[in-house]
Amino acid sequence: MKVKICSAAFNPWQEIQAYQATLATSAKFGATSIFIGTMRDYNEGDAVQSMTLDYYPGMTEKQLEKILTDAEQCWQIIDAYIVHRVGEINPDDTIVLVVVWSSHRGDAFDASRFIMEALKSTAPFWKKELLESGQTRWVEKNTDGYQKM
């Protein structure tokens, strides 16, 4: 299991394939569940030009690792990988990638969702948006991923 903080744009498909190639357990994972969060060009009704993602170097990695360890204790996971972007971000850029490899789909789905919710509520990242209007604003709170929007 591994976490990675990226200060430059990354290609999620390359990241998944490169990490998957390192798994010794080829042909043992029947289920791969992947979540990709992408920057949208709008938020709360406003057009967003770009975003800055701030974090707490050291604690952020530690917290992401803790989330993976927690997930591993609740579900049967073969491996898991988190990549998270920081710094200047443009619309269409990948913000977060979560991948869980498991023998069975129930564990893969449960664990990937748990990881995303835990990341959204506990991993020290903060978004500051630059609106098309030129204004900047901090995003105040993440929404609950289990509630329907």
Partner: protein
């Protein structure tokens, strides 16, 4: 004893800095640290606290050499 205090994101902007070094002799909780370091500013309801990069409560007592961090609700992902 001395500790390092850090403020992140909007909280750093509100407090007006991202880091302080505090030296003091009496026992202090995280809440005391906030009050000592950010005079006249009441502690926000939704503030999150970490000591040495692990989540902690406002009532925990700080130790010499600790890094105490205050930050707003996280918005990653």
């Amino acid at each position: 004893m001395s500790i390092k205090v850090r403020y992140f994101a909007s909280l750093g902007e509100q407090v007006g800095r991202s880091e302080s070094e505090l030296t003091f002799s009496q026992a202090m909780t995280v809440r005391d640290v906030w009050q000592l370091d950010t005079i006249e500013k009441s502690i926000p309801d939704n503030v999150l606290v970490a000591i040495n990069m692990e989540y902690a409560d406002l009532d925990i007592q700080v130790q010499d050499g600790d890094e105490v961090a205050f930050f707003p609700p996280v918005t990653g992902g």
